[in-house]
Each structure stands twice: as C-alpha cells, then as structure tokens.
Symmetry: C2
Subunit: 558 residues, 2 copies
C-alpha cells in the first residue's frame, strides 16, 4: 500500500564510503571463521573488520582517505596469541648475556667472558640467563667456582632457563652477604657445599636475594622495556599475549607494572594486546589488589586484567616440579610444592570469590592433582558462571588428571615447544609409564577441553611457527629429527593453529572480539610468507612473518 | 624438598559437601556440550551447574540439605529458548475469545456467541483473537456485518493471528466514532466499503484506535498477567524468551512494561528468563529510552534489556509483507513498508550508535533488502565489536539475500512453525520462483549463520516440539502430512534443537551462561518423556514436557 514511496530499495553500498580507514587486499586469508573460511581482502574502520570478501568487493570501498595495503599474496591468519608469557622478564633478559646456546660449562664461561668484554653490565653486575645443564655432557649445575673463572672482581649471576635456579660467583656471594650467613627460607634454598658454605646455587625464592639487591627500575625505564619487548613480540606475528610479570624484579611489584601498562595503554603506545596474568604469592597482596577494585576483565584499552596466577611447583629440569612419587633420577626428591593444600585453597578461595579467573602453574602430577582438588572444592562451594579457571603447563599427567580437567571444564595452557628439551629428560625424571600419559595435548583437544598455546617466554623463544611445528609433528625444530615422543599426542594442524589464535582469545574471554578474521572483530592479523595448510609439515617451522596488523594498523612489516 | 608436608594430595571431594543445593539424577541428559555430551545427573548450587556425571558420582555429593530429585529416566535437554515472543500480547489473548480453531466465518460467529454466553468480556467489550481467513473456503476477511450477527449491543473486536488486522462490529465503530469520521493514518488504514463507510476492518496502526479506547491496565494487573503467562511458557519447557511487548496495549508503553518486569525480577518472581526486544516506532521514543541509560545488556536478575526491535513491514497472510514485486494474488499490492529507507536508517543509526543490538521484523524480500542495506551502511560507518544485529522472520528471500545475511554476519530469527500455515498461501502470494528460495532455514545453518527459533506467540502456539517437528520434517504437525515444501530447507535435528536452545542464548549474548548443560552455566533444563534423538520423526511433535527447571529450581512438573 505504502510501497510506492519505496521504489528505491537497494542492497546498499551507497552510504559511508568516505568512512573506510584501511583495506588489506591481495591476501590469502584463512579466517578460521566457518561462515567465511577464505577471502582475499578485508576492510577496516576504527580497528574493526566490517567487511570481508574478494579484492573486487573490498577495493570498491576505497577512496582517497583509505589506506590501501597490498598483502602481495601473503597468507593471512588471525593474529597469533601466546597464552603464557613473561614480557617483563623477557625485557630483562635483553639486558643480560644470552646463555641458551651453551652446550657445556665451558660455553657458559666463554659467553660470560665475551659479555664482560662487551661491557654488558647492569648496575655493575654481569647478568646471564637461559642456560640449561641438561644440554651438556655431565648435566650438572654450574657453581660459584665456574663463574669465578670469569671474574672474581665483578659480581655475576646467571639464571637457568626455567627461572627456578640462579648461580652466582664468589664476588656476588660476598656482596650479598651469603659468604657469612646462610638464611633459612620458606620457599627457596641457598645451597651449600660439604663445608656448609654457599656454593653459589640459589633455588626458587633464594633468587630474590639477588634481584632485591639489584633493585627495581623506575616507571619510565619499565615502560621503555615493555615497549621494546612488545615490538619484538609483534614482529613474530603475535598480536596478543597473556603475560605474568608481577614478580619480574622481586616480590610483588604489581602496582608498578600495572601503572606502566595502564599508562602505555592510555597513551596509545602498546602495539599488542596485553592480558595480565596476576601472580601473587601471599594472600595479603591478593587481598590488597582486590580491595583496589581490580578483577579479571577490567579493561584499559589494550591492557586487560587477566587471571590470578598461582605458582604451585617448580620445573622438571630443575627437579622442582612436584611429583606424586620420587624422581627416577633423584630418588630422595619429589620436587617443591610452594603451597600446602590448605594455603593453596585459601588463595583460590580469595581469588575465586573476588571475581578472578585463576590459572595455576603446575608441572608435576602431584601439583596438578592438588590444584584440581582445590578447583573442584571451590566450584562446589561457590559455583560461578563461566569462570574459565585453568592449569598452566599441565605437563606430568596420568589419565585421571586428563579426565578430571575435562570434567571440571578447566582450561589447559600448553607449551608444545617445551618438548624440544623435555623429551631429553622426561624418561629419566619420571619413568616411561608416567611419561606415556604426559604432555598429552591431543588428549585434551579430542575431549573438547579448551587448550591454548604459549611459549612461557623467556623460558622458550616466542616464535609461533616452531611451537606449532612441535605440536603438530612431534619433531625437534632445531634438527627436524623425530623426538620419538608419543605421536598420538600431536595436535592436528587445525587444533594447533586454533591453540595459538582463537583459544588464546577464549582464555581471555575475548573470543567474540578477536581470534578469527570475522566481521565485528578487531582487525588483528598476521601475514605469513607461506600457506601453513599447504606446505610440507617439515617446512612449518620455517614459515616467516611478513606483516603484523593490530587493531587495523600495521605494527610490523618485513 | 617440601613435598613431605604434602603427603595428603587428593582428587578432592572433601570440601563443601554441605553446600550442594540440589541434585537431579536418573536422567538421560543430552547436554549439547561436546566435552560431556551425555550424562545421568547434575549437581546444582546457587542456580549454577557445578558437576555433571553419573548417578553415582553426583548422588555421592548429596547430604541432608540437598534436594534430590529423581528424573525417572526422563530425557533432559538444555531448557528451551524462544527467540521471538510477545508475552504481554499472549497474556492479553488469555482475556479474549480464542479463534484460531475457526475454519469458517460461521465458526467465528459461533465462537463469539459462546464467548458472550460465558461473559468473556473486558471493560464491556467482547474481544477475540487468532482468526485466519486463509483456513476457510472463501478466504475473505470478516467485516462488521458478520460480527453484528453476534451482537449489535456489545462492542466486538477480533484480531487476526498476525496482529496486523482487527475487525470490529457496528457497535464498536459507533463507540469509537468511526461511523462518522474516517481518519487518515500514517501507518494504517480504516477500511471503507463502496459507500465510503467504515466496514469494520482496521489495518496496522488503525488497530490502535481500539486499544487506545480500551486503555492500559495498571502496573499490578500487568505484573499478574506477565506471571500468569510465564507459568504457561515454563510449562512448555521454555526457560528463556526474547519478547517484544512495548506495543501490547497501544503505542509505547515501554516504561510501564519495563517497570513490571523489573519489579517481578527484583521480587524473584519471574519463573523464566526474559530478554526484552525493545520495539520503538518513533526516534523520539528510542532517544528517550537511551537517555534513561537503557541499552542492550543491562541486566536486572532474570530480566535483561535486549535489542531494539523495529517493524519494517506487515504479514504475508494480510498481504502487508513488503515485496519487491506485486502480490501474485493481488497485482495492485506490494504490501506495506512502515519506514522509508531514510527513516529506517535513522532508527538503526540511533540504536546502533546508542549501544543497542538491533532486530528488524522483515517478512517480504523488499523489506529484508532495505534492512540489510541499512545494516551494511551503519556497520561501515560505525563498526562495532560483536553487534549481533539480525532479521526477525526473514521469510521471503532470494539467494542474494541469503548470501548477504551471511556476509554481514547477521542473525536470523526463524519461526519454522509458520510453514504450517504459510505453505497454504506462499505460492499464490509470491509465485513458485521466489517461493523456492524462501523459508530457507537450512541455507543459513549450512552457511554457519546463527539461526534461532521462535513462535512469535501469540501468532503461533509456543510449544517447541511442533516447531522442531516442522523445522526437521517439513510436515504439518496437525495431520503429519507432508507440506510439499522444499525438503532441502529442512534443518537437521541437531540444528533444530540448537536453534531452540544454544542459538537463542547466543542471540541474547548468553551463550556462556545458558543454552547447554555445562559446568559453570545456569541449571536451566527441560525434561521430556521421550528421546528426541531416537523417536521416529513423526513422533517428535508428540513429545511431552515432564519437568522444567530454571536456575536449579523446578518451575513445572507434570
């Protein structure tokens, strides 16, 4: 009846042409969005994808105000996500001698001497990081005597790749007063030799003696460190990280770290999205944090408060992972458990009831079982909608753990790249039976457990491709050799890509904002030089990042 | 090292036993949650599911404070969701003579006379609803003369099932002053006979003359009406509805309706969850609503503000659906379009920029194209994260519409039960070519478009099983006869069940809160007497609801 006045009805492209901010075209997009799995181009406004389609469809929207960027037939995926990172620790390592390449004690000494020659010092100390004794023949920790060969005048402290062990030289022991007094610590050990003297090996919280002495950088320095580190991360195609930083310097610098990130976010300087894993060791620090009004989900632009992060045990390499039975290669040890079950329960209760998502570092099976028990209890006592609690690492597992993780709907934060080293030690540490059901990532994905991928950088390098390669092939990316691990634990390629994209988004409650290339999501994109779905699987690790786009802007271009 | 103090590490059920509110056991749960697809029992606390498992696992949690409810081997699904409902209109119909069974004009007259005898009057009027002339032989609207056979003393008004046509008798015309003056309306028509006198037929907004005269019930009365209607809905296994009520009495009673729901929610009386579809016809009403601070997502317990609902055309039955070409059976008509494209664009812009999700009633293909054009324009001009705009009904479609709905990531709110009647008229209304690509629900699901299911109650009855039956079989639930519709448009059973559960939750941004039986979601459950996945498909429509559970409490039991 009134149809007449509607003569002009159109499938309309007629409004808003002048509004388009940017167009990325000539791409081979794998969107990971089932509704539009492949595309050539996207159009972006205000950081948000509003159209996906063919070059023709999208270029048709361009005008003189539009940035039109040619992807040169690059292969575009949703920007990568790393779900367990230590960004400030990584920034710290950039001030230190890099020791991850050392394959002997002699290498350590050599690299440190080279560092000295390059005057690579921080407050008068020579600092190193990344060593791993399991890569060299006799596989024993360095001690003060080894580092004294580098210098007896300059204090030296070198930290193991796992961050659970630091070794210092005699000069450092003297400066720290450990040559005279051996303190008894709650969660750490100053190791001694047969004479009762400090041998230079500092375990777990004993490492804080060094970091406390060295002091904490100021706010501006931390901001610079964060930005510098973020640029490295963006260059790896990573557009979002979950990062655990509060203990990067010594105990609880949460206020300073939060302030640094908040200021960078407010100033629009953060190139990637940050989801803060909030590590607190003591209930009073956590309570204070909650009293200030922080909780999971608080958002400050690119910076978002993430889960309470709890550290429940150590590392497998340092034999501080907490096992349900003695280490096969150290029959007097079961590892370190950093909480009693009651104390862990208390932390979880405070966090859970205070509105925090919770992610617990557990490597050993006993640590995992303890955390699962607490999660089950708190979820019975105070069920919460969609809490998304989870286990970080979740390495040494039996089938009962896997089934329980599924039954409790917990998240798993996996680091497939860890196998590169861990497969060297797992059999000797825990034995073949327990090893067979450990690092069992596929057991989670095939049960529809949400499994996200990460590097735990700086424990491992944060390049995504070697990590996906490990997850998918079970081979060592350094030499393409089969790691002789259980092939049934390998992820499918789709699962691995999802673990480093949409599952990272899910673990931060952002699956509707990012993690796929979709209309109405942020334009966070990585462009690769090869099609990960088509190359021979041995080539996956060598795929390079050509461009990183965050919120519609190019943050890295190679 | 400190492992000794951790001798007792358990997969723990030891805390919180006393905390369990209720257990539902002896069920055959189909959870729709891939991680735990089937189960026997669930445990609930504070309305939330915290454990799913076998009878043994779950009953083990019971104690003297736990309500332990035997489901008697009933078949449990996530509680049903109806994504397009008019709850207050339905409540209104309960005060009226039900005419949907009429199969002739004589039936109408007969049922009205019976209503008179039962003194079924409201403010001295006899009101009726639900008639549909297409069910009787000559398929013409009743007029005043027909209703005068019921009474010339008592005013009568009977509304068509589609709510786009009301017919009144001479007494009513007299009381309303329409016997003397025929007003010219913007969006409606007071129809006249060859003498220029009102014939009793009132189209679209002309119906408001009746409702305005009858006036609006008070707050307490509306609350009672809502509660009474909700109990009926809960008895159908429906635990959540999207409902469009603001125009249930006359133009814009939004304040009154919102107040009624808010009070019921605050008083804890709502038995089901309400997602308010907020219909506004004029920009000033919408602006006023936004100025008061309302927007999509505002939550008041069981009551949540949903999308801006816009009405863009009429109904196919009344030939008011807006088509791109003339009606085949009325070559002078293309239907009614309630907005110009500019006016519709204005409403959408205000809503979109004000933070509203938007759902637009469009039945005809021209109405749909107009809405799609506006959506595309507004999403280009002001892209928003995860807006979830959509088309309600989305009935008469060509393939370009379907592809565009997919490309713009719009939601579809479908009413499969509409086919029961519409397949009688579709060919004569629009012709075979357009009919072949209309009501094409599978075209959306197979493209991963989010499609949710509803009844548009009181346009159709809200029982879910006949609706699923129509969606899946393409048969008429009244007689099991094949509707001779396009079988390729039928949903799979899984898709249909999802349309009435998780997709309803998705369309209200609640997919992480409800829509599957999952840990950490609300315990909203329907228990059926048969397994929908195992019965012969002809039996689906006859499956009965045995129990409805909302937020962990039994709201209905048969």
């Amino acid at each position: 009846m009134k149809g007449d006045k509607m003569a002009k009805v159109i499938l309309c492209n007629d409004w808003g042409h002048e509004q388009v901010d940017s167009i990325y075209y000539n791409g081979n997009f794998r969107t990971l969005d089932k509704s539009v799995p492949e595309a050539q181009a996207i159009a972006v406004k205000n950081g948000i994808i509003f159209k996906i389609g063919s070059n023709k469809d999208i270029l048709n929207l361009a005008n003189t105000h539009t940035a039109v960027i040619d992807l040169n037939n690059g292969y575009a995926l949703p920007g990568f996500s790393d779900s367990h990172f230590h960004l400030v620790h990584y920034a710290n390592t950039k001030r230190k001698v890099e020791l991850s390449g050392a394959r002997s004690l002699a290498d350590i000494i050599d690299l440190c001497i080279k560092g000295l020659h390059k005057r690579q010092q921080e407050n008068g100390w020579l600092l190193g990081c990344g060593w791993n004794q399991d890569y060299w023949h006799d596989a024993i920790f360095p001690s003060k005597g080894d580092l004294d060969k580098v210098s007896t005048e300059i204090p030296i402290a070198i930290t193991r790749t796992c961050y659970h062990v630091t070794v210092v030289n005699s000069k450092a022991l003297e400066i720290l007063g450990l040559d005279k007094n051996i303190p008894i610590l709650t969660n750490g050990i100053v190791c001694v030799d047969e004479n009762g003297e400090a041998n230079g090996i500092l375990l777990e919280s004993a490492q804080n003696i060094v970091s406390k002495y060295l002091g904490i950088p100021g706010l501006d320095k931390i901001k610079d460190m964060i930005l510098d580190a973020c640029m490295d991360v963006a260059a790896a195609g990573i557009t979002s990280i979950h990062t655990d930083d509060f203990e990067a310097f010594s105990e609880n610098t949460s206020d300073l770290i939060i302030q640094a990130y908040q200021e960078l976010a407010r100033e629009g300087k953060l190139p990637i999205r940050i989801y803060q894993q909030c590590m607190f060791k003591k209930p009073e620090y956590l309570k204070e944090f909650l009293m200030k009004g922080y909780k999971t989900g608080n958002e400050y632009g690119f910076y978002k408060i993430g889960p309470l992060k709890l550290l429940n045990d150590g590392s497998l390499g340092a034999r501080t992972a907490f096992l349900s039975r003695p280490y096969r290669d150290a029959p007097n040890q079961r590892g370190v458990c950093l909480y009693s079950q009651d104390d862990l329960m208390q932390m979880i209760q405070i966090g859970h009831n205070g509105g925090m998502q919770i992610a617990i570092h557990c490597i050993g099976d006993a640590a995992i079982k303890m955390a699962i028990g607490c999660f089950e209890a708190v979820m019975i006592a105070h069920p919460r909608i969609d809490a998304r609690h989870g286990i970080v690492h979740c390495q040494i597992t039996d089938m009962s753990i896997i089934e329980k993780v599924k039954a409790l709907n917990l998240l798993v934060y996996a680091q497939p790249i860890f196998m590169r080293y861990d497969r060297e030690i797992i059999l000797s540490r825990v034995g073949a039976d327990l090893a067979a059901t450990s690092y069992n990532w596929r057991a989670y994905t095939c049960r529809n457990v949400h499994l996200s991928g990460g590097s735990d950088c700086p424990v491992e390098k944060f390049d995504i491709m070697p990590n996906i390669y490990c997850a998918v092939t079970g081979k060592n990316p350094e030499n393409n050799q089969d790691m002789a691990w259980h092939p049934e634990n390998c992820l499918t390629l789709d699962e691995a890509v999802c673990a480093f994209t949409i599952e990272g988004a899910y673990a931060s409650f952002q699956e509707n904002e990012r993690g796929t290339v979709s209309i109405g999501k942020y334009a966070d994109i990585v462009v690769l030089n090869k099609d990960i779905y088509k190359v021979n699987e041995d080539q996956i690790k060598d795929i390079k990042v050509k461009m990183t786009i965050v919120n519609g802007s190019v943050k890295y271009r190679n």
